[in-house]
Subunit: 408 residues, 2 copies
């Protein structure tokens, strides 16, 4: 069993929603990678009783707790006081901490306000965590079952204190056996369809299976215990990936292509020495925008009206045949441009359909390469911004499939 | 005393830090505005016992709880099961919900996987919350002291369900005395510059002042108690807005332009009956992409190379004078196109500068309208994606300033 850890975030700005709590996610990601099981995140405001209650709860429930915020000099910074009250410990003045705080102000040619004196008061038995990045030192304390670390809520101070001090302490205080996480990333297939496709695969009970759908991909996650044999990890991950077939664009944690779709394409285009021209319609600039800074994208244009696009490029194919039109557009661009690949995205659906979240547009993607035309067709529904994003991703994904497999 | 409310976020991806929990902040902001006191945020993973424990805790501690996540079709979506177990309620099949789920798939020409059937199972006594935005309906349930609402974790579904259903129910079930929140949204000025500019204004202790910086704006927030006099609210908000001047593009909660930048521009363009052509460079499609679906945007093009842009449009002005070049480009577009406004974005900075987060590019925006040329120039540093986003926003902001003030 991994040791359990809770994240405790303190501050009115968090519970009132003025601040998105990025600290909790950052800390969790780091401690999970170390081998902790994170059981809870809790945020409470700057109220002494709420803090006391929560500290007591955690002290009997978790092996470790990292608490952010409430170490500042103002009256709503109550952490030390709450810890003292929760565990019946007197507050003691720490000379070294006080010298550090005074020095912080001195180095910045500022005089120390009297209120900062309180930042040198710690509950009896606490160990100071020096903070070279701000005025507030952190502290740590073992209470019953739980080892608490208290750090400032300012993200960059918190991150420095974690990386430079807490991480080492955790590694020495706990017996940690990090698991192995494999993330299979797909595009063009939904979460429930994935679940159905892999339902025949037997997932051993020690392996945790999870899913995450975001606007840019669907991720299937396999978390293996630390002592799970390497070959069995590889076998299961391969089996799942195989079931998902060509929809898989990357697998993180498996020594294969990893990262997001654009990153995967960038690697493949760079290795292959290819260049690209793009014509987009439904995504209205978003396809090009996703490729910002990539030197192999030579030429990009988008056009809201298919009619105007045909006029501009003198394409005479019947505009109702979108596959033939896309091929003609690609051919015209190829002739005048320098890129060796041309990617064309067209779609069927009028303006009303495009705006209506309950109606679908049909996307026609054509890729022209040295060995001819490659096609995909997709139906996409949802709010207009979802259609736009899917249109950009699915066109790029045609390029990815070609590059990864050189056949479709 | 305000009724208390807790936010409960469910999902392995949250506690393991794979996802930053933006739902909690979004919901908190909205319920605080309605008059609730948010006492806690808690996140737990997809473990039945953890969910059951937390549900029971909250049911005796809060007046209301909004719970996100765990309503999907897969085996790790455990909300309904956890509620049933926590409060000893049988799960019942809801015909109407099942029809809605089937219809969702039918409209998208997809067959419904068997696993989605479970999304129509609710604990006895629950009221369904219809979801036109995804497959998972939500549900609500009173347990002891606490009224629970369960909604999907997908942010846009959650937001729709909150705005279209839960908000109304909350307003009718609870006696709420909302404070008055005013949010002043700015672009092109940083958080510390804002703090400095308004430092001379005396903020009464009952008024809460907060700031929030996002990629798309910086928000200055003033939260007034419910019984604060209207005239005093208006006076203080106006004073703060005045100090921030033209950087303010919207003020939410003040009967003036509100919403995001593109929304504000859309209103103004529509009212004025104007049309626009855009040429973008540094933002590489992102400016157009942000305007997806807006009918007054007639023509858009982007070009990575200034040289090619000059060639294509036969602009002969010296390319080193970017203001003159932008004006010539705008003039050329105006002559050939149908739009009455032309917005041109150029930038100075080589490829290396663009990629280097520690170096700045200089943005030159030109807007050509019936009464001539309007210019802004900005220096933008940071990672390439930040430069891209700022380039798109700052060009659009020139249009906004013109439309709001018809002078610069």
């Amino acid at each position: 069993m991994n040791p359990t850890l809770e994240i405790f975030s303190q501050g009115e700005e968090v519970v009132t929603g003025q601040t998105v709590d990025t600290n909790a996610a950052w800390l969790s990601e780091h401690v999970v990678a170390m081998g902790f099981t994170v059981t809870r995140h809790t945020a409470v405001g700057d109220k002494l009783d709420d803090l006391v209650t929560l500290l007591r709860e955690i002290s009997v429930r978790a092996d470790c707790c990292i608490c952010t915020g409430g170490l500042g000099p103002t009256s709503d910074d109550l952490t030390a006081e709450a810890v003292a009250k929760a565990f019946d410990l007197p507050l003691e003045f720490d000379d070294v901490a006080f010298e550090q705080i005074k020095r912080f102000f001195m180095l910045r040619n500022r005089s120390m306000p009297e209120s900062n004196r309180k930042q040198a008061m710690f509950p009896k038995g606490a160990e100071r965590i020096d903070n070279a990045w701000g005025t507030a030192p952190g502290f740590s304390l073992q209470v019953g079952r739980c080892w608490f670390a208290f750090v400032p809520g300012v993200p960059f101070e918190m991150r420095h204190l974690f990386s430079e001090s807490i991480q080492t302490t955790l590694a020495s205080r706990f017996l940690l056996r990090p698991g192995k996480l494999i993330t299979i990333k797909t595009l063009g297939i939904g979460e429930s369809a994935i679940q159905e496709r892999i339902s025949a695969i037997e997932i051993p009970p020690q392996v945790q299976l999870g899913f995450r759908a975001s606007p840019d991909d669907v991720q299937t996650k396999l978390l293996f215990p630390h002592d799970y044999p390497e070959t069995a990890v590889a076998a299961l991950a391969s089996k799942v990936a195989e079931e998902l077939g060509d929809s898989v664009f990357a697998i993180d944690g498996f020594g294969r292509a990893s990262g997001d779709l654009v990153f995967v394409i960038d690697q493949l285009m760079t290795v292959g020495g290819h260049t690209l021209a793009v014509v987009e319609t439904a995504s209205q600039g978003l396809l090009a925008a996703k490729c910002i800074g990539l030197p192999w994208l030579l030429e990009t244009r988008y056009e809201q009206s298919l009619e105007r696009l045909r006029q501009k490029l003198a394409v005479t194919v019947n505009g109702n045949d979108l596959i033939a039109t896309a091929q003609a557009v690609a051919g015209a661009i190829k002739k005048t441009g320098a890129a060796d690949f041309v990617l064309v995205q067209l779609y069927a659906g009028d303006n009303k359909t495009f705006h209506d979240k309950d109606q679908s547009i049909i996307l026609y993607n054509t890729l022209l390469t040295g060995d001819g035309f490659h096609q995909t067709t997709h139906s996409v529904a949802g709010p207009i911004k979802r259609k736009q994003n899917q249109a950009a991703l699915l066109a790029l994904d045609l390029l990815r499939r070609y590059l990864q497999h050189k056949e479709l």
